[in-house]
Symmetry: C2
Subunit: 386 residues, 2 copies
Amino acid sequence: MSKTNLRADFKLGYLGAGQLARMSALQAFRYGIQIGLYTDRSGNEPVEFMTPYSTTGSFDDTEELTAFASEYDILTLENEFLSSLVLREVQEQSGTPIYPSPSTFAKIENKLIEKQTFEKAGIPVTPYALVGTVEEIQKFGNKHGWPFVLKSSKGGYDGYGNETVNNPEEAEAAYRALGGFKGHKIIAEAFIDFSKELAVQVARNETGSVVYPCCETIQENHINTAVISPAPIDPEIRKEAQKMALSATEALDARGLFAYEFFLTEDGNLLLNESAPRPHNSGHYTIEGCITSQFENHVRAVMGLPLGSTEMRKPVVVMMNLLGKYKRKAKVNHFRKSMAQVDGHLHVYGKLQSKIGRKMGHYTLLGDDLEAVYAQAKEYAEQIQL
Amino acid sequence: MSKTNLRADFKLGYLGAGQLARMSALQAFRYGIQIGLYTDRSGNEPVEFMTPYSTTGSFDDTEELTAFASEYDILTLENEFLSSLVLREVQEQSGTPIYPSPSTFAKIENKLIEKQTFEKAGIPVTPYALVGTVEEIQKFGNKHGWPFVLKSSKGGYDGYGNETVNNPEEAEAAYRALGGFKGHKIIAEAFIDFSKELAVQVARNETGSVVYPCCETIQENHINTAVISPAPIDPEIRKEAQKMALSATEALDARGLFAYEFFLTEDGNLLLNESAPRPHNSGHYTIEGCITSQFENHVRAVMGLPLGSTEMRKPVVVMMNLLGKYKRKAKVNHFRKSMAQVDGHLHVYGKLQSKIGRKMGHYTLLGDDLEAVYAQAKEYAEQIQL
């Protein structure tokens, strides 16, 4: 492909049609380009209401994917339910570049290779081991402590495909559940006594790299409920996390927007926990919180455009995930105060069906004082019913 | 209709499919609602690439419009190529509310009634007179000076449908060109020796009103090339313009986003020149320049939602219109520096064809020092080729 110019008929194709494609597409439109979707779901994804071009098919179907790819200038991904082999084949057959590239994707689709890549780059990761027998699993637990987690080294998204092992007796069942006896490669990963979970997003392409502030992600019952940026920790640790995120992105030879999750241990050390080759919930606050959002830099990065400033617009930003409180046809109630708040920004994702705990939107509040902003944002998030 | 709640399947219909609908729709999507278009153009409007729902038809065809309206929760307009009688009929037949309302629209579609409405509200307007004969036209010129402008009291958009009368001899031809002899009502309007042109946007609905800063619009050869906000004038005059814009919006009993253009005369007086019942080019700077953009407040206003803060994000904002420099298939060149500039924001409208002088996009730069920001923004606008 020739050097990317902005053209009115430039077409960016998304593999996946979830909220990340939706929010990224909103930025793509700002450059006057057209977007299309390839999804394995059966319609009614909100982003499908934002384009005339939606295709439904399997993410394994190389032929269908290639036909889709041929209609676009560049493809990008918004989730990890894909195989690097399929991506490579589709890229070769269609001649349409895919970013993040299949070779970058190959490094992170496999949890083992991902960890080895980061370790080689000098980035501390959570303790892990490749385990091939039930005995090795038990040995891992005895060394690193119980409980810990078993992961299939391929796949795994948002906590699916993981098994917690609480004691030696549970090792065999967990190993079987993940397909260990069928030859799936399984890695064991230690649970970390962390004091905080942190996140950093990085955009990178041939024009350079930009790194977002290090934020803190707050979990309740293992679900991310809030993001605070910058993370209320020693600024030196934030800088260190940003440096690691940049190194990780280099190590992946990444083109696109990448998100990293870190554990800050009780004794003040950083461990890289997870990476995502795409915009991430931890970076939604950047839509209003930073001069250039993660979604805009996602589009810029994959298109080979200069990257935008990640500078924050106000000293403090808090983003609250708005989780479904009902099972019902989706609607929003009690949102008016939150919307009238100066520099409070309500986002509703347009999902047609609300379910308890489902991410239905988010609310971002900018301000100067962390305690006041966080308290206010939490209050609104509790009020808003959806 | 019941009180507006945010619902995932809420449908906002646009009458018109130009850039204003496009930029407004981007904000509508943020609330997870769906949009549809009714346009009298033959396809390939950029916003049509942003929805599966486009209908082509005439703006006179009450039946077609009613069928379209019946599919939507609320309709809004993005231009003035409509008749209040048609709007009223469509609203009645479909039961779908239209905002701005047909009765508000009736007050501004007719230039004479518009001026009378504003005068009654105590807002100074440019000197004008209803002229029914060639002699009356000549008398107007002798009183207010030559040249001056004749306008059909209905219609007129972006300078079309006006005739400049340079001397008594031109009166008859101008009167004929506007249909004066066929019974069209014609008004004469004096040219004003103004020092600056100013603009103010106002959003209003049942929850209240918000007013944007008073900005200056810079014209070159009668084409708006730049907008500076706030206008570099006495702050008291800015306040006065905001006050007038609010009064005008009250007088129109408006629900929606309204834009007003003022002349600041050589002797420091403000005259209301034009109003638009929709987002306006003079307010594009608000997308990044203010906490809530004119487009977001447009959507909020017509949906009956609380209005957002119009506070500026930086002390100075300059918006440069990017006009086509070629006749060619649309593409953008030499934009990279502008895009790498901190707090510089490139918007490309996605029009498929570039024409010399056609509005193809805009560039907004935020900063602290007017002279520096304006000089830099102008430099980029000159560099960018489209």
